[in-house]
């Protein structure tokens, strides 16, 4: 027990003297040192990374590249579909225009023949 007197500091020094380390401490330290000194398995590439880590890294890179290619393919397909739709729309518009043009052309020819008085009078469609 701590005595309450003026020489508290010597008492403190006495009670805080270095203790002994637990039994077998040095052996445990030396075992860890020996374990550290064992050559590490460095893998076939020898860059200090085990083979399995290289395999995981390769798989990750391959997955990223495949993902990028797939996205690019989808974008290309979408572009193709959009282009086809535009072409179809243009084709439909073109056909309609041609049809209208033919009808207008035919109507003009009938009107011209009627005015010249040649042959039988073909009634113009627009007349009542």
């Amino acid at each position: 027990m701590v005595e309450m007197k003026d020489d508290f500091e010597p008492e403190l020094r006495e009670q805080l003297r270095a203790r002994e380390a637990p039994a077998g401490f040095a052996d445990r330290v030396m075992a860890r040192v020996a374990k550290r000194q064992q050559p590490q398995h460095r893998g076939w590439l020898g860059f200090g990374m085990p083979v399995w880590q290289w395999a995981v890294a390769t798989l990750l890179v391959a997955a990223m590249v495949a993902g990028g290619l797939e996205r690019e393919r989808e974008q290309r397909e979408q572009g193709e579909r959009a282009r086809e739709q535009v072409l179809l729309a243009l084709h439909i518009t073109g056909s309609t225009l041609r049809e209208v043009q033919q009808k207008v052309g035919a109507s003009d020819a009938v009107h011209e023949m009627n005015q010249k008085g040649a042959g039988a009078v073909i009634p113009e469609k627009d007349e009542p």
């Binding site: 027990m1 701590v2 309450m4 805080l16 401490f25 040095a26 445990r28 330290v29 020996a34």
Partner: protein
């Protein structure tokens, strides 16, 4: 210094008590203290070629043991160990925490109620018998801080020890 296993083992055997005690009095738990002490010696093994003499090794061990033990204590506090929280509040240890430290004497237990940096300074002064100037140099602390830690640390421990003694005599 010589890096052979034999030389290193001799060093471990000569300094193991010192390093383990510093760690124990800062961390406050035997298992954690041994872990810290082992890590310090592994670090010494790597640093040995750069150390010139036994005095240099001793100073290096004191400094690194204090720092690693303080780091370990901080990590334990972050992980939420109840005892570590208790040490840092500056109050008296609760009986439950005292039971957690059966191997420590009363003054060692009271030391754990001081903040970690102050604990380290007290250990270097009273376990290692270093002068305040040497502690300031080794711990890279202002001398005034070291003196203040020591003065307040002794005062607090004295007051707490006195209170314990009174409680003890009252039965």
């Amino acid at each position: 210094m010589d890096h052979s296993q034999k030389t290193f083992r001799d060093l471990v055997e000569r300094h193991q008590g010192r390093v383990f005690s510093i760690a124990l009095r800062i961390v406050g738990e035997s298992g954690a203290a041994e872990e810290v002490a082992q890590d310090v010696f592994l670090e010494l093994y790597r640093a040995l070629p750069g150390l010139e003499s036994e005095e240099h090794v001793t100073a290096w061990l004191r400094r690194v043991a204090c720092h690693r033990a303080t780091d370990a204590l901080r990590r334990r506090a972050v992980r939420g160990y109840a005892a570590a929280e208790e040490y840092q509040d500056g109050m008296e240890l609760r009986p439950a925490v005292r039971d957690f430290l059966p191997l420590m004497n009363r003054l060692e237990q009271l030391l754990l109620t001081l903040p970690p940096a102050q604990r380290a300074v007290m250990v270097l002064r009273y376990q290692e018998d270093l002068e305040p100037e040497d502690i300031a140099t080794e711990m890279k602390m202002p001398l005034a801080t070291v003196r203040s830690y020591l003065q307040r640390g002794v005062k607090m421990l004295r007051a707490k020890a006195q209170r314990t003694l009174k409680e003890y005599s009252r039965g």
